[in-house]
Structure formats: structure tokens, C-alpha cells
């Protein structure tokens, strides 16, 4: 590789006018330079992996560390907090990662999440009832993000954690700031501190009176037995709260918009409700809302696809590119709800850090999308797609707002 030319910046913007497409540069990189160098906002560089196979190899290899305090970790342009803050299990490696993650894995296991399905359906129905009653939806439209996409995952994760939903304005504002790529670092740091302080007070209150919820159980079973500290419980709360609602909310908004623009697929899903599970996998593959990672740092010299990645070098793994890799997914830019291997997507990541809440996300997406299709078959955006505010400024892609009528 020539080193004379400075590497291009990490691609994050979708092409103009194509809100559902991943950044333009990925397709070319997959063909010409699947392991390339990119520059990060602070002028440092990292490897960028764009092919499915390489990305699974990197994310599945324990020699690539998730620990943000390891020298060389590519933090620049990343959001979500300082490296030395109590960083929760996603930013640690085994065995510490394994120990901490296993304290909450049962909370998100398939059968426990399936047991939540009727409640998630009821909640979705109530929010849809409220949308139907909304005054003047014919004229100005209802914001689907505010009315449904954000409240469902946000209410569910608040309930599971034992965080009062009455405070949702507070934690939604703070997580929004944390996940922004355009807000200055000092403001983001202030939001991180404010969220930590809020959760710190909440955990302190729960220590006196732990409820029958995830934080309550962590306090009783892990903190009181000396396995973890108060700060660890707060870190769990921050991680699960942030991960629990921004992600699914944006998948709901993008999925709804995609299906409004594809009436044939929407009708097929109405006719054959059994397709919804596969459709959700395909929507996860197609949208791949994580646009800025995940990231790793090599802890040993590792060869990937003929490139030597040396210990201490950072790697950005473009899951949005892996999920459009033509080597794995035929006609990758086409949404095909019958795609036989859609579930091979890496939208939830890969390796031991793969999304802990994926079963919950699946149930929420299946319920909300199927219910929307059934109850609002004529739903459509009230503004042209060019006027929809897409989240090109955020780590997690989606729509800031989605005005609809029906």
C-alpha cells in the first residue's frame, strides 16, 4: 500500500437523495480495497473493514479488543462517553466482559422476551389508538417517531430496568446528545455527567428499596453480595437505557417509511402475516442503523485478508457495508422480505459482544410493524422524502421526525 496519500475520511453520509443507502464509498471499497485506511476527525487513522467475511473474522477474534482504554483504540469521532468513565461491559474484554454480561443475559433471553409480547402488543395498540384520536392528523400529520417509534422501546426498557418513564424527557434528551456526532465534545461530556448523576440518584434510591426489575435484581443479587459496586449498577443502567431505545426506535421509523414507499411489499405482509419475522431480519440487514462502527483495537499482530494489522492499531468495522456485501447477499440493495439468508446480517454485530437485547428488539419490531400495517394501511408521509430530517448527524441512523397521515 502507498502511504503518501492521506487516507480519506471515514464515510458516514448516505448518497444524496437515497436515504436508505449506506455511505456511497463502501461498495467501491469492498471491491478495490476491502481493508483500507481511513482518517478520523482528530487526524488519526484506523483500518476500515467493509467486507462481510473480514468483518465477521475481526468481530469474532479475541485479539481485537473492545476495551476503550487500550492504547490505540480509535475513539475519535465516536460518541457515547469518555474512555475512562465507568464503561460498562460493552467496552471491556473477556473475562471481565463475560462476568458482567452474564449478570443480565437471562433478562433478555428468548423465552422471557416472548413473555413480554402480549404487553408490547397492548402498549402498541394503545399508542395506535391515541394516534387515531389525534386531532388534525389529516392536515398537519402526526410525527410517527414521537407518537409510536420512540415510546414503545423507551417505555419497555424503562419498565424492565425500573427507570420511571415520567423522566423520559430527561433521558431521551441526554441520550440524544450522547449519540450526536455534531454536538461539541464538552457538551456531550456534560450530558454524560448529567445522565450519570440522574442514574446515580436513581440507583441510590433503589438500594434502599429495590424493586422487581433489572436494576433491583442487580442490587440484590450482585451488589449486595459484593460482585459489583454501586457505580457498576449505574453503568449497567446507562448502557441498557441508551441501547434499549434509540436503536429500536430508529429501526421502527425507517422500517415504516420503507414500507410506505413500497406498497407491494406492505400488501404482501398484510396478506401473509407469517412473513413478518423474515421481513424484520431483512429490514435489519437493509438499514443497518449503526453508521460509525463498531470499533476495535488489535492487541496482537493479526493478518486479515492479506493485510497485517499490527498491535495497537485501530479498526472500524462497517456493519452497514457487510450487510450489503454482494458476496453474501444477492442483489444486496434490494429489500426482499423473502430473502433466504437475511438472518445472516450483522446488524446486531458479531462475536461475544453481539447485541444482548436482540430478542427484545425483534419482538418490538415484529409487533409494531405488523400492527402499523394492519391498522393504518393508507399511512403515508406528509412531506416529500427530501424534507424528512434524516439522522446523518447521529451515530445511529434513522429519522429525527417522520410526519405521516392516513
Amino acid at each position: 500500500m502507498t502511504v503518501s496519500a492521506a487516507p480519506a475520511p471515514l464515510p458516514v453520509q448516505p448518497p444524496n437523495g437515497c436515504p436508505f443507502e449506506p455511505p456511497t464509498a463502501f461498495a467501491a471499497l469492498r471491491t478495490t480495497e476491502p481493508i483500507s485506511k481511513v482518517s478520523l476527525p482528530d487526524g488519526s487513522w484506523a483500518w476500515l473493514a467493509t467486507r462481510y467475511g473480514d468483518i465477521r473474522a475481526i468481530l469474532g477474534d479475541p485479539r481485537f479488543s473492545s476495551d476503550t482504554t487500550v492504547h490505540g483504540y480509535p475513539l475519535s469521532g465516536m460518541t457515547g462517553g469518555a474512555p475512562n468513565a465507568n464503561r460498562g461491559f460493552i467496552r471491556r474484554d473477556p473475562p471481565e466482559h463475560t462476568r458482567l454480561r452474564r449478570m443480565v443475559t437471562r433478562e433478555f433471553m428468548v423465552k422471557r422476551v416472548e413473555a413480554l409480547r402480549p404487553g408490547i402488543q397492548r402498549l402498541t395498540d394503545e399508542l395506535c389508538d391515541a394516534m387515531e384520536r389525534a386531532e388534525g392528523h389529516e392536515q398537519g400529520g402526526v410525527d410517527l417517531v414521537e407518537a409510536l417509534a420512540l415510546p414503545v422501546p423507551s417505555l419497555v426498557i424503562s419498565l424492565l430496568l425500573g427507570v420511571p418513564y415520567d423522566d423520559h424527557d430527561v433521558f431521551q434528551r441526554l441520550t440524544g446528545t450522547l449519540l450526536s456526532r455534531t454536538i461539541p465534545d464538552d457538551e456531550r461530556e456534560a450530558a454524560r455527567v448529567e445522565l450519570r448523576d440522574y442514574l446515580d440518584r436513581l440507583v441510590t434510591a433503589k438500594e434502599a428499596a429495590p424493586g422487581d426489575d433489572i436494576l433491583g435484581r442487580l442490587i440484590v443479587e450482585q451488589q449486595r453480595t459484593g460482585e459489583i459496586t454501586h457505580d457498576d449498577v449505574t453503568a449497567f443502567a446507562a448502557l441498557l437505557l441508551i441501547a434499549g431505545h434509540e436503536t429500536t426506535a430508529n429501526m421502527i421509523g425507517l422500517s415504516a417509511l420503507t414500507l410506505m414507499r413500497d406498497p407491494e411489499t406492505a400488501e404482501r405482509l398484510r396478506q401473509e402475516p407469517g412473513l413478518i419475522r423474515g421481513a424484520v431480519e431483512e429490514l435489519l440487514r437493509y438499514h443497518s442503523i449503526i453508521r460509525n462502527g463498531p470499533r476495535r483495537v488489535a492487541t496482537a499482530d493479526v493478518e486479515i485478508d492479506g493485510h497485517l494489522i499490527r498491535a495497537g492499531e485501530g479498526v472500524v468495522v462497517a456493519v452497514a457495508s457487510a450487510n450489503r456485501d454482494e458476496r453474501v447477499f444477492a442483489e444486496p440493495d434490494r429489500l426482499d422480505v423473502r430473502r433466504p439468508n437475511a438472518q445472516h446480517h450483522v446488524a446486531f454485530g458479531y462475536g461475544v459482544h453481539q447485541c444482548l437485547g436482540q430478542a427484545l428488539a425483534r419482538v418490538e419490531l415484529q409487533v409494531v410493524i405488523a400492527t402499523l400495517l394492519r391498522r393504518f394501511p393508507t399511512m403515508r408521509p406528509t412531506v416529500p422524502v427530501e424534507e424528512i430530517p434524516f439522522r446523518t448527524d447521529m451515530t445511529i441512523y434513522g429519522c429525527h421526525a417522520l410526519p405521516v397521515t392516513w
Binding site: 437471562r106 445472516h344 461475544v352 436482540q358 430478542a359
Partner: protein
């Protein structure tokens, strides 16, 4: 088909349970994979192979 699991590797993502629920389950206490049938009938083989291919922790091993 013979299946062996590495429960130390398992990260409880739960996809094997969704794909092959007659072969895989999760332990109540921590969500770690449990084998319900270590030599499943032929009609389950495709689903088991799919579960192994998708497992993010490579915790499912199959001997033909």
C-alpha cells in the same frame, strides 16, 4: 449428526433458540445455551447447521 456446545463461549444471543427450538434452549438462570437433543432427527439438521453458522460466539460444533 452429533452436536457439542461450548457453554463457556456462549454469549446468550439466543438465535439458536429462535432457529431450532426443538434442539436448543436457554438456561433460566443465565440464558446460556442448553442442548435438548444431542443427535437430532434429519429434519432438524438444516436448522441446526443454520444455528451453528449464525452463532456469534461459534459455540455450536457439529460432527456430521
Amino acid at each position: 449428526m452429533k452436536i457439542t456446545l461450548d457453554t463457556d463461549k456462549c454469549c446468550a444471543a439466543g438465535q439458536c433458540v429462535l432457529i431450532a427450538p426443538e434442539v436448543f434452549d436457554q438456561r433460566d438462570e443465565d440464558g446460556i445455551v442448553v442442548l435438548l437433543d444431542d443427535a437430532p432427527p434429519a429434519e432438524q439438521h438444516d436448522a441446526v447447521r443454520e444455528a451453528a453458522a449464525i452463532c456469534p460466539a461459534a459455540a455450536i460444533e457439529i460432527q456430521a
